[in-house]
């Protein structure tokens, strides 16, 4: 018994060292900017750089658009498949898992070949087109998580019964979808949304290959050219990850609470 | 010298003492039930016998050998858990073979013994099934076979039937008892179902808050409860407050009248002492029989139809008395609000030590 607990503490301790030391080192490095003393100059410099705000807000906007379109696409689809075409479920699930199999860099490679300036749908020609491609790329990457989260939420509310109840009250399907289904799977949508957000804001490969002024490529650029700002940015990114994970935890707990209360 | 002996066994979890001075001895081949409400420490005592918990005090001996320094895997005890606990990755046959395999038995021996065990529980035809392919009752029988395969010295069953539905519970408890008789294995059976305990045990230990309140045969426990707790827990007793009127004449005053009970039932309570008397529902009757010698008048407050019996509750001078009568379609049962008379024999009155 004593032995077991000892080894457990040891494992936790070793892991804690491996995980915490890089954070401490990053923090320390990010404060070295002023010679001979620790300061937050690097953070000041990061926030003073206009491109930080520009690229970050660009990425946030793209992420929000991705979330909105993704939810509008996935919630009705998951609902429809559950309600009307359960025989399609394996196929749809397979498709939603595909992005785990095909790496992002391969997907974006395909976009660049299919939708380039000389193709039938030259999306890369215009900024709007490239932005759209980026959004679709983010949607693809977040598909496994978003679909899973929404589908799980639907399982807990039993959409068929809810729909029948609404229909018996004379509701039409847009009403059913937006007034009954969406609010009930909101927590699922939310937890999918936070994952999507985390993926989209930090993503490097896709925006970089599409030449979009996004946060990920900006980070890489800073990394190549500056010394103290990169660790400061890493700390900021880490803090943002914390926040989104905490938000995910809160929403999933709400979801469980809602499911438990039924 | 008994086969299994627990003397002054105690157990605390941190500051909380869950088993106080627990003493009992079990003869070889005996079937003993632990009966008690949830949280009274039945599982804890069992787990100490199996070796999963170390007693904070006292000794446990099996066949005269102190078990204190023996790990669970050296005690040769069979255990059946409430949630079956079959190994999910093994077939029925592999589950039953597990103990033999780790003991290093030869292949033919294992096969023969597994077959013997599966025949014993009548599941020979399911030997190749996995646990998730079987019903709860079947799984529990496999668990029993697995526990018995190594010929353990003692068999411990911790509420083995409580996850099953009522019908299976009855048939399986009889099967367990029959197998136990056949093998003559010393067995402790934990339950909080009094009917279960009464129907299959040689002796019953009624536990309350970490103490063995009474140890005795089923009829002892039912007919001569030693404490008020036992009286209340085993069966549904009518408890009435009473006073000793005259100790030598063995008269007590109950519900406004004086009755004479067998002197031995008084347990030495003196004149004027406040005592508690108990009457089983089946000792009371609405009709006067030749042997009944006491009558209580009261107002009927509820009538419950339970199938073969009708349970009637009435208020006798502020004390609740309930009694059972057989359902007789030809007779009109009492109505709520009726004034009725309940008859009983004074010799059926139990006096509970306070």
């Amino acid at each position: 018994m004593i032995g077991k607990r000892f080894w457990s503490w040891l494992a936790v301790f070793v892991a804690a060292v491996y995980f915490i030391v890089p954070l401490l080192a990053t923090m320390e490095f990010s404060m070295r900017m002023r010679r001979g003393t620790y300061s937050f100059d690097a953070y000041r410099s990061v926030f003073a750089d206009q491109r930080f705000a520009e690229t970050f807000s660009y990425s946030v906007v793209m992420a929000l658009i991705t979330i909105a379109i993704g939810a509008l696409l996935i919630v009705p689809t998951a609902y429809w498949v559950r309600l009307r075409m359960p025989y399609l479920r394996p196929v749809v699930e397979f498709v939603t898992l595909l992005p785990l199999v095909v790496p992002a860099i391969v997907i974006i490679f395909g976009y660049l070949r299919l939708y380039n300036s000389s193709s039938w749908l030259p999306l890369t020609n215009t900024d709007m087109g490239a932005n759209a491609l980026l959004v679709f790329g983010f949607m693809t990457m977040s598909l496994p998580y978003m679909y899973r989260a929404v589908d799980t939420a639907m399982r807990t509310i039993d959409v068929a019964v809810l729909t029948e109840a609404a229909e018996s009250l004379g509701a039409r399907w847009p009403t059913i979808l937006f007034r009954c289904i969406f609010p009930n799977v909101l927590t699922g949508v939310l937890s999918g949304a936070f994952i999507t957000f985390a993926i989209a804001v930090g993503e490097y490969t896709m925006p970089s290959l599409l030449n979009r002024p996004a946060f990920g490529p900006y980070l890489a650029l800073i990394g190549a050219n500056k010394a103290y700002e990169p660790p400061a940015l890493a700390m900021i990114a880490f803090a943002m990850t914390w926040v989104s994970i905490i938000l995910i935890n809160i929403t999933t707990r709400l979801q469980k609470g809602a499911a438990g209360a039924r | 010298m008994s086969y299994l002996e627990l003397s002054h066994v105690q157990k605390s979890f941190g500051p909380v003492k869950v088993v106080h001075d627990f003493n009992m001895s079990i003869e070889e081949g005996e079937f003993v039930s632990f009966l008690g409400p949830s949280g009274c420490g039945k599982t804890t005592v069992l787990r100490m016998i199996a070796g999963f918990e170390n007693p904070t005090g006292g000794t446990i001996k099996i066949g005269g050998v102190d078990q204190a320094n023996l790990k669970p895997n050296r005690r040769n005890i069979g255990m059946v858990f409430q949630a079956y606990a079959l190994f999910p990755n093994m077939t029925v046959a592999e589950n039953v073979a597990f103990g033999l395999k780790v003991a290093g038995a030869s292949k033919p021996d294992i096969e023969a013994r597994v077959k013997e065990m599966l025949d014993l529980i009548h599941l020979g035809h399911l030997a190749e099934r996995y646990p998730y392919q079987m019903s709860g009752g079947q799984q529990q029988r496999v668990a029993l076979a697995r526990a018995l395969a190594n010929k353990p010295k003692v068999l411990l069953l911790d509420e083995p039937l409580s996850a099953l539905d009522a019908k299976i519970r009855v048939s399986l408890r009889e099967e367990i008892r029959a197998i136990q008789r056949k093998l003559g294995i010393t067995t402790i059976f934990v339950t909080h179902d009094q009917e279960e305990a009464l129907s299959i045990s040689d002796r019953i230990v009624v536990m309350n808050a970490g103490i063995a309140d009474q140890i005795g045969t089923p009829s002892d426990i039912y007919n001569r409860p030693a404490t008020r707790f036992v009286a209340g827990f085993v069966g549904t007793l009518n408890i009435l407050e009473a006073k000793v009127e005259n100790r030598d004449a063995a008269t007590v005053r109950v519900a406004g009248r004086s009755i004479t009970i067998p002197p031995a039932n008084l347990n030495g309570a003196g004149d004027g002492a406040a005592i508690t008397v108990a009457l089983r529902p089946e000792a009371l009757s609405l009709s006067k029989s030749p042997s009944s010698d006491v009558a209580l008048d009261g107002r009927v407050t509820s009538v419950n139809f339970l199938g073969s019996v009708i349970r009637t509750r009435m208020d006798v001078e502020g004390q609740q008395v309930s009694f059972d009568m057989f359902n007789n379609p030809g007779l009109q049962p009492p109505q709520i609000g009726d004034i009725a008379t309940a008859h009983f024999k004074a010799s059926d009155v139990l006096v509970i030590p306070n």
């Binding site: 018994m1 077991k4 607990r5 080894w7 457990s8 503490w9 494992a11 936790v12 995980f19 890089p22 080192a25 490095f29 696409l73 009705p76 689809t77 498949v81 075409m85 498709v95 992005p99 199999v101 992002a104 860099i105 391969v106 997907i107 395909g110 660049l112 070949r113 299919l114 790329g137 693809t140 598909l143 930090g202 993503e203 490097y204 490969t205 290959l209 990920g216 890489a220 990394g223 190549a224 990169p230 660790p231 890493a234 990114a237 880490f238 914390w242 989104s244 994970i245 | 070796g51 999963f52 790990k71 669970p72 895997n73 005690r75 040769n76 190994f87 990755n89 597990f98 103990g99 697995r146």
Partner: protein
């Protein structure tokens, strides 16, 4: 019968209309791009069927990229799986206080998502030439890490970095499987005379190996497709597949677009195989988790 036929068809049409937007999206932005690349891998520049591109994958620099990629992915997956499993076992079975468990799980949720460019920055600040650990080792312990041939931009460095998200992923996936081990199983085994080691060998390992091995493959695929960390950490100095592909997309460094498709196809094959085995093993593992 004849009367219900059109009705049925109409219902079928609405059914398919309902799923049409998703189907269109999936075909245009997931399936078509993949199919395009995969088929491109089997064509020569003139559009004729060929296996030439696949054979060309075995030219030394591409083969080397695959080998080093596979080595890094395998090493970080195995290392991550072993350490992650130990950590998961510690918090699930180690009778540690409850707060340790929830702290570890929450942290793992964060760390498994802390990848890409920022992770590279963090490790540069730790084990780079001016990183804190490098400096402390040099100034306090008199140990010059870089004199031993260590380089963060190498196999070892990248493996160490990838493990930062591999370990947490392992913990997050395997902890539920370990929690699924019932206490009664170990108790039943021990009253039946088994030693702890026999219990692990005969019960725990058979129950857990599908999830552990499956997760190992998932970690492998995860590392194999990771681009950003590698690019940000090493620029283009390390010859691994995602970087080769990245450079190829940017500027056709292989001077043969179809060879580029073949490189992408090779990636899909490798991540695909590992993911499918992972999913298959998970389904197997769930059989017992009822």
């Amino acid at each position: 019968m004849a009367a219900t036929q059109p009705l049925l068809n109409r219902r079928l049409i609405t059914d398919w209309l309902g799923i049409a937007p998703f189907a269109l999206f999936a075909i245009m932005f997931l399936i078509a791009p993949t199919v395009y690349l995969v088929s491109g891998a089997f064509l020569d520049p003139n559009g004729n069927l060929t296996l030439r591109n696949l054979v060309d994958l075995f030219q030394p620099n591409i083969l080397a990229a695959y080998i080093i990629s596979i080595k890094i992915s395998a090493a970080s997956a195995i290392g991550g799986a072993i350490i992650g499993f130990a950590l998961a076992a510690a918090i699930s079975l180690g009778s540690l206080p409850a707060w340790v468990r929830s702290a570890v799980l929450t942290f793992c949720g964060v760390a498994s998502n802390f990848a890409g460019v920022p992770l590279a920055f963090a490790f540069l600040a730790t084990l780079g030439r001016l990183g804190l650990v490098t400096i402390i080792l040099r100034d306090v312990f008199g140990f010059n890490l870089y004199a031993t041939g260590f380089n963060l931009l190498s196999f070892l460095g990248l493996t160490l970095t990838y493990m930062y998200f591999q370990i947490p992923l392992m913990v997050l996936i395997v902890t539920p499987a370990l929690d699924g081990l019932k206490r009664e199983w170990s108790e039943a085994a021990s009253v039946l005379g088994a030693t702890p080691w026999q219990y692990w060998r005969m019960v725990v390992i058979p129950i857990l190996w599908p999830s552990v091995f499956g997760t190992l493959l998932l970690l492998f695929a995860n590392a194999f497709g990771a681009v950003a960390t590698a690019v940000a950490l090493t620029g283009s100095s390390l010859n691994i597949v995602p970087i080769v592909l990245f450079a190829q997309i940017r500027g056709d460094v292989l001077h043969n677009p179809n060879l580029g498709y073949a490189v992408a196809f090779g990636m899909v094959v490798i991540t695909g195989i590992s993911n499918f085995i992972y999913i298959w093993l998970r389904m197997r593992a769930e059989r017992w988790q009822k």
